[in-house]
Point group: C2
Chain length 520, copies 2
C-alpha cells in the first residue's frame, strides 16, 4: 500500500516516486511504500502553516496544554502499534520503543505544564512614571512570542522522542508555532503512526489545520524546499554534522536568514583524574561499557573518548574495559548509512599514527548489513594532540582510550577540543576542587559538565542543557532538551503605552495567570 504525506488535514499527492523502509536486523524490505512529497505538497504545507501562524500565536497557554496532553494520550493509545512498526523499522528492541514512547509522552506533558503555568515568557514590566524628569517614562511591557512556522527534521536515532511529536515539535507547538515535520527515510511508518495521532489531536483540540504537516521525501530536495520557503521562520534538526551544516548554510543564505538549531556532533570526552584507585577504575569500566554501548552507541551523548592516567589505576581501567567490551554482542544499527559511517570512522581512527586496536569491531555486518560490534582503541595524549582526525565523532559503540602522563596534559587536551554536548570528569572531590582551570576550559567547550556520572541518559527537566558550542550544535545559545528548548522558537515583543485590556494576559496589571514577572 502506498502512503502519502499529511498536508494539514489532507493527504499528499500520490506520485510515482516511492520508497520503502528496511528492517536493519534482517535486511528485508518492509511492506508499506511511502510517496515522496511533491513540490506542491511542500508549498501547500508551508502556506497552511503560514495561514495558521496568527491563530497559533493567539492560543492561550491552557489551549496549547490541552492539545499537548491530548496528543500524549493518543500516543499512549498506540504504543502497541508503535512497538510493532518501530522495532521492524529500526531493529531497536521493544523495551526501548516503550521507553522512548514514555519519554515522548512525558516531554509533551512537561511542555503542557510549562505553557499552562505561563512562566516561560520572561514577562517584564516597566510601569509608566508620568512625573519623571526631564521626560515622563512611558509604560513598557515585554514577553516572548512565537517566531512562526518551524520545520523539524526527524532524527534517525530517536524515532519518537526527536521525531514527529518529539522535543523539537513539542517545544515549537508550546511556543505557539505551526510545525512541519520532515520524516526520516528509515522510519516512515513510525512517523505516519505518530503523524496521524497529531492530526487527530489538532482536529479535536480545535487548532488550525496548518498547525501540523508531515512530509515524506528526500532530505536534500524536499528538505531544501522546506528550509528555503519564506513562510518558515526556524528549523530544528538532529543528525550528522554535514547534514546540519548544509541546512544552516541554506538558512543563512536566504533573503531573510532564519535560525537553524542543528544538534550534530559530539565525542563527549571523559576525563579521569589521577587519584582514583583500582576499585573505582573497575567501576568506571563497567559504567563506561554501559554508556558507550547503550543503543548500539547511537546516542548523541555517547562517550567516544576517555582520557585516563598512566599507571596501575589506568591499567585496571583498560583491562576491565577491554574485557567487558569483548563480551558485547554485535547488534543492528539503525540503518545502512549509519553502519557504513561507523565502519569508515573506525577505519579513519585506526589509520591514525599511534592508535592501537584493543578490541576490534567485527567486520560481520549480519543479515541486514547493519550489525555492528563494539570497538576499543587506544593511544597516548601526544599522538592525540598531534592528529586532528582523532577528535572526529565516530557514531557507534566505539571508544578511544587516551593515556596521559601529567594532569597538566589535560589542559592542553581540553583546549584542543571542539564544542561538545557534554564533558565528564571522574575523580575524588578534592581532585575536582583542584581542577579549576580544567573546569573553566571545559565550560567553554560543552553545554553540560558532569562529575562522576556518564553523559548518556539525558534527564529531561528544566535545568538540563542539551546543546553546546559548534559543532555540537549550530547554535550554542540553545538547548534542545528540557523546558529551555521552548526559547529557541520565541522572540521578545514589547508593548509600549498599551491600554491594559489590549495587553496579552501575561502582561495585564492584575496578572491573572499569577506568573512570575520582573517589574521595575
Amino acid at each position: 500500500m502506498i502512503k502519502s504525506s499529511l498536508i494539514g488535514f489532507s493527504k499528499g499527492i500520490e506520485g510515482d516516486s516511492v520508497f520503502t523502509a528496511r528492517n536493519p536486523a534482517t535486511g528485508e524490505n518492509l511492506e508499506d511504500s511511502f510517496c515522496h512529497a511533491s513540490e506542491e505538497d511542500v508549498a501547500k504545507a508551508c502556506n497552511l502553516a503560514s495561514e495558521a501562524s496568527l491563530a497559533m500565536a493567539a492560543l492561550s497557554g491552557s489551549k496549547k496544554a490541552g492539545f499537548l496532553r491530548d496528543l500524549s494520550d493518543r500516543l499512549g493509545g498506540i504504543v502497541d502499534q508503535l512497538v510493532q512498526t518501530m522495532t521492524a523499522e529500526t531493529g531497536l528492541p521493544e523495551p526501548r520503543v516503550r521507553g522512548e514512547t514514555g519519554r515522548t509522552i512525558s516531554q509533551l506533558k512537561m511542555f503542557a505544564d510549562l505553557v499552562e503555568s505561563g512562566n516561560w515568557v520572561d514577562a517584564r514590566i516597566d510601569r509608566t512614571q508620568p512625573n519623571r524628569e526631564p521626560i515622563p517614562k512611558p509604560d513598557l511591557r515585554s514577553m516572548l512570542r512565537p517566531v512562526g512556522p518551524v520545520v523539524v527534521f526527524c532524527a534517525s536515532n530517536f524515532p519518537l522522542a526527536f521525531s514527529v511529536a518529539g522535543g523539537d515539535s513539542a517545544s515549537a507547538w508550546a511556543a505557539g508555532c505551526p510545525v512541519i515535520v520532515k520524516a526520516h527515510h528509515a522510519h516512515p511508518g513510525t512517523a505516519l503512526l505518530v503523524g496521524n495521532a497529531v492530526v487527530d489531536s489538532v482536529r479535536s483540540s480545535g487548532l488550525p489545520e496548518g498547525a501540523f504537516s508531515l512530509i515524506f521525501g528526500d532530505g536534500r530536495t524536499v528538505g531544501q524546499s522546506l528550509v528555503n520557503h519564506p513562510a518558515i521562520k526556524a528549523v530544528g534538526f538532529t543528525g550528522s554534522r554535514a547534514g546540519g551544516r548544509a541546512l544552516f548554510d541554506l538558512a543563512s543564505q536566504r533573503d531573510e536568514p532564519i535560525p537553524v538549531y542543528a544538534e550534530m556532533s559530539s565525542i563527549n570526552p571523559i576525563f579521569i583524574l589521577p587519584g582514583l584507585g583500582e576499585e573505582r577504575m573497575n567501576e568506571i569500566a563497567t559504567g563506561l561499557q554501559g554508556s558507550a554501548t547503550l543503543g548500539v552507541g547511537q546516542f548523541c551523548t555517547n562517550p567516544g573518548i576517555v582520557f585516563y592516567p598512566r599507571g596501575p589505576g589506568g591499567e585496571s581501567l583498560v583491562a576491565g574495559y577491554v574485557g567487558k567490551m569483548k563480551e558485547t554482542v554485535s547488534s543492528p544499527m539503525l540503518h545502512e548509512g549509519i553502519r557504513k559511517a561507523y565502519g569508515e570512522g573506525l577505519d579513519s581512527l585506526t589509520g591514525c599514527e599511534g592508535v592501537e586496536v584493543l578490541v576490534p569491531a567485527s567486520n560481520e555486518s549480519g543479515e541486514g548489513g547493519c550489525h555492528a560490534g563494539s570497538c576499543v582503541l587506544s593511544t597516548d595524549s601526544e599522538s592525540f594532540l598531534g592528529n586532528e582526525r582523532m577528535v572526529e565523532e565516530v557514531f557507534g559503540p566505539s571508544t578511544l582510550l587516551v593515556s596521559y602522563e601529567n594532569p597538566s596534559d589535560l589542559l592542553r587536551i581540553a583546549d584542543s577540543l571542539e564544542g561538545q554536548l557534554t564533558a565528564s570528569l571522574f575523580g575524588e572531590e578534592t581532585e575536582l576542587s583542584q581542577s579549576g582551570e580544567l573546569l573553566d576550559i571545559l565550560e567553554t567547550k560543552a553545554g553540560r559538565l558532569l562529575f562522576n556520572q556518564f553523559p548518556t541518559g539525558v534527564e529531561v527537566c528544566a535545568s538540563v542543557v542539551h546543546g553546546g558550542p559548534y559543532p555540537a550544535t549550530t547554535d550554542g545559545r540553545s538547548t534542545s532538551v528540557g523546558t529551555g528548548a521552548i526559547l529557541r522558537f520565541a522572540r521578545p515583543v514589547c508593548y509600549q503605552g498599551f491600554p491594559d485590556e489590549l495587553l496579552p494576559v501575561e502582561l495585564k496589571d492584575s496578572n491573572p495567570m499569577k506568573i512570575s514577572r520582573s517589574e521595575a
Copy 2:
C-alpha cells in the same frame, strides 16, 4: 599628531596608512590623524581577548559592576572633552553630546546593577532524587555563562551610546566577555577619548589586559579580519543593511559560525486609525515632526512612513505636517556617506510611480557637503502596495505619507511589510480594541509596538525591545537596548552531579546572592 589603536594596554603599530575625520558642518579636516590597525594589531587584540576569556568569565558580578561603574565615572569626568571632540566630528549639538554621555553612563550603571544582583543568569535547579524509580534523578543546575570575545562595531549615529563603551560593549562586559571595538571612521577622536577611559578602568579595576582593545581601520578589511578570527565568538553592529548583512554572511561562513547581532534597517511604520478628529491629527502632525527630524532623522527608530485615512482628518494631518516640515531648517548629517545615501534614497522614492513631493528636500548640502533638509512625500496605499521600493529605508529626515481608504487596507499593508524595530498605532482606545488582527500581524513584524506614542526616544529599561525580524536585525530573537541585551552574549551551561563547593555561586544550595531561581 598620529594616533594609534589601543591593543590591550599597548598602542598599535604606527603605520603609513592614516585617516582623518572631517567636521560635517564645515567640511574642514580635523587635526588628528588616526592610523589604520595592521593585521598584527588585529591578531594581537584577538589573542589578548582570547587569553582574557577565562579570567573575564570568572569575574564575580560585583567585580564586573565595579568596572562598569568606574568606567561610567570616568566618562562623566571627560564630558567636556567629549563635547569638544564629538561636536567637531559629528556636527551634533552640545546638548545632544551631553545627553548621549548621560545615556551611556546610565546604561553602564544599569548593567552594573543587573550583574551585581545576579538575577539575569536564568538560574535553574533540579535537585537530585536518589530514590526516584526506575532510576535516581541526578542533580542538575544550569545558568547563563559568557560566550567569549565579542567584536563591537561603533555606530555612526550613536558615537557614545552605541560605540566604544555603548550598549553592545556594556552588555558584553556585563556578561563576562572581552570586547574588541572597531571605531567608526567618522568619529575616531571620540572613540579614542572613550577608549582611553576604558583602558584606565580595566587597569584600575584589575581586569585582564585583553578585556578591551580599540581598533581603527577600514570596516571591509580590518572588520573582516576581526569577524573571521577564531577567537571571536559574537559580533555586535549597528549600521546599514548592506554592512550588517555582509558581517552576518562572513560570520555564518566561518568554520565555526558565530552569531551576529546587527541592527540595520527599519522604516518604523505609523498607522493612524480612521477615528481621530482634526485636533488630534494636528497634535500628531506636531509630534511626528519632532520624531521624524530628531537628530536630523538619524535614529534607527525614525518614523519613515505614515499610513493615514483619507478624509478631513487625514487632510488636516497632511496640511499640518507639511507646514511644520517646511519650517525645518537644514542641518548637517553625520558624514558624507550618510548624506549621499539620503539623497539617493529620496531619488529612488520620488522616482516611484504615484509618489508626489509635498516638501522637497533642499539640494543644498552646505559648506561641509553634509547638510540635509527635511522632505515629505505622499502616495496612496494602492501605489504603495504595488512597489517594493517604497518600503526601503531612507535614513534621514524624510517621511512618506500614505493615504488609505478602508481600515482593511491596513491589513494588506501590514502583511506586506518586512521586519521592523517598531510599529506604532494612533487612534481611539475603542478603535485599537477593534484592531486585533492588525495588531496580531504587526506583532510578527516588529520588536516594539506603540500605542499613541512615537517610536524615537527609546527608553533604556528592562522591558524595552530594540530588535525585530530581519531586516530590522539579523537576529530577531534579541534586543540591543535594555537589560535583555546581555542575553545576546551568554549561553546556558549545566552542571550535573557537582559538589556544592564547586558550583558557581549563583547555583549553590545556600543561594548566597539571593537571586531568583527556578527550582524543581
